[in-house]
Symmetry: C2
Subunit: 320 residues, 2 copies
Amino acid sequence: MKDVALRAGVALKTVSRVVNSEPGVTPETASRVLGAIEELGFRRNESARLLRTGRTATVGFIADNWGDRESAALGRGVEEVAREHGFLLFAGSTDTDPVREEQLTLSLCARRVDGLVIVPTPGDHDYLLSEIEAGIAAVFALRPPYHLARADAALVDEHGAARTAVAHLIAQGHERIGYLGGDQASYRTRQLLDGYREAMGTAGLTVDEAWTSLTPQRLLNSTVTAVLCGSREHTALALRTVVEAGMSRRVAVVGFGAFELAEYLAPGLTVISYDPAEVGRAAGELLFGRLGGYRGPGRRVYVPATLVTRGSGEVPPAVP
Amino acid sequence: MKDVALRAGVALKTVSRVVNSEPGVTPETASRVLGAIEELGFRRNESARLLRTGRTATVGFIADNWGDRESAALGRGVEEVAREHGFLLFAGSTDTDPVREEQLTLSLCARRVDGLVIVPTPGDHDYLLSEIEAGIAAVFALRPPYHLARADAALVDEHGAARTAVAHLIAQGHERIGYLGGDQASYRTRQLLDGYREAMGTAGLTVDEAWTSLTPQRLLNSTVTAVLCGSREHTALALRTVVEAGMSRRVAVVGFGAFELAEYLAPGLTVISYDPAEVGRAAGELLFGRLGGYRGPGRRVYVPATLVTRGSGEVPPAVP
DNA sequence: CTGAAAGCGCTTACAG
DNA sequence: CTGAAAGCGCTTACAG
């Protein structure tokens, strides 16, 4: 910029004015400056500008692994909103490691990102407090953080979807319904089980607690006629277990997540599914709400999850 | 930092030394500084440091849409390499729009990223020349740019995979083999068709040019007994067409891409598949090679693609 | 071992 | 309409 000023025979400030298209420059001066910029191949150093301005026009996106389908689509949703605001996006993966999450977040904060969308790890998030105090906006996605109850979050209505799914199974005549879904303490499992219990209760069915923490092995030895799954991986597990044991007519599987080519699956597959990009966009909107000056209490946005049936027909009805 | 210096009663430089754990500070002074840092909740502004240092320790990843499976996994591979080097990653999507690619790239360059991994759009990339001259490293992934032949690229051996796939079909007795894959000018289609032609030629089979640009409609009216697909979407299309027309016994489908739950697909599915994360890591290595001082000519790295059979058996043999 | 000055590339606040 | 100075938060190159 100094070189440009020198070459155009003007002061630094004039170059700055031209570059920012501020008013108050004669067309002649402007074109002289523009010429110099062209000749020198000058391009403003955005970082320097932002250092002075105090903002960086960047946000960070932190997920377990943004290489997986769910996180990637979610991140893309965040990017869209960021882009509308002229912001650039940092992306980082924690591999579900709280230590790594903290490192990543802190180094992003050290770069002075304006905001952060975080799919939180199980760890606590107190380290964020001082950053938030320092002015950085943080929004959680997919699950709320353990403490930090005041933070904004964009979530999925897994509770409602599980309730619907289980009610649907019950309507098909199922009474012994199980849940296969990994870590019982995880947010998604708790949400799904809440919905499950609610539907069972409404139908007047009692829940055998053994049903709520199935494994493939236990599923084989269980009397359940239907199983609700808590993740893509558990859906695949359940399917494999049921098919390999030749039980696909006897045990109905309700999966979690969208699967391509699901219409050609042999047993047919009904799933609970939601649009991760929508969660990302919702998180982005919450974030830019904060960046736009919102100072109120934490908000929660729920994205709907729906029951989708694909492939060769319905969930099989209960066989008496 | 000024506040910290004031509070600790030392000069700015001393604080800088402590923060960077440079030698030459007495333990007492150091602990005084550390104390002040603690009390003030000081955290170094990385951007300011990097402005002075001249590097930003960031790289950018630009893809059609990093929310899709292929790009996301690829980007995650780049992130891994970046992380090993202590770099942060920007991610942006072009939606296959050359204009958007240029905008994104240029704004990343204005932030002075040290390097860029780009899944290029069909546009030309001359706008990158001046940036590369200015010292930014650029590596292409998945497909090479149209011009800019000198650039590094991490690619997939689609050519070899198609050759293998078609040879395999031929070994199963197929002689009339088609290709369904969208834009004929795209890099992937050209690679796949090259491999296809090579295998057909080696087997002494002649290619009816109509076979090389199938659509679902043309596939129905064609005499081909097998079809090679050029993308995930075209795989789904081919499958749908074949299944709905009741031709799944007569027409063998070789898909492209990895599909979850493929083992439970009704007709069974053989696909050409590769590991996108590996392409990302390869691109990352090329990039950091440049950042590490490599100044030689452009390099190409090929990641293998393999033929995988899932589900209820093999590609169906040709029915006489 | 410690510090005062200059500068990275830009903008802000003020004068002319 | 244009410019000279100060400063964003840090580091570099030099003295003491």
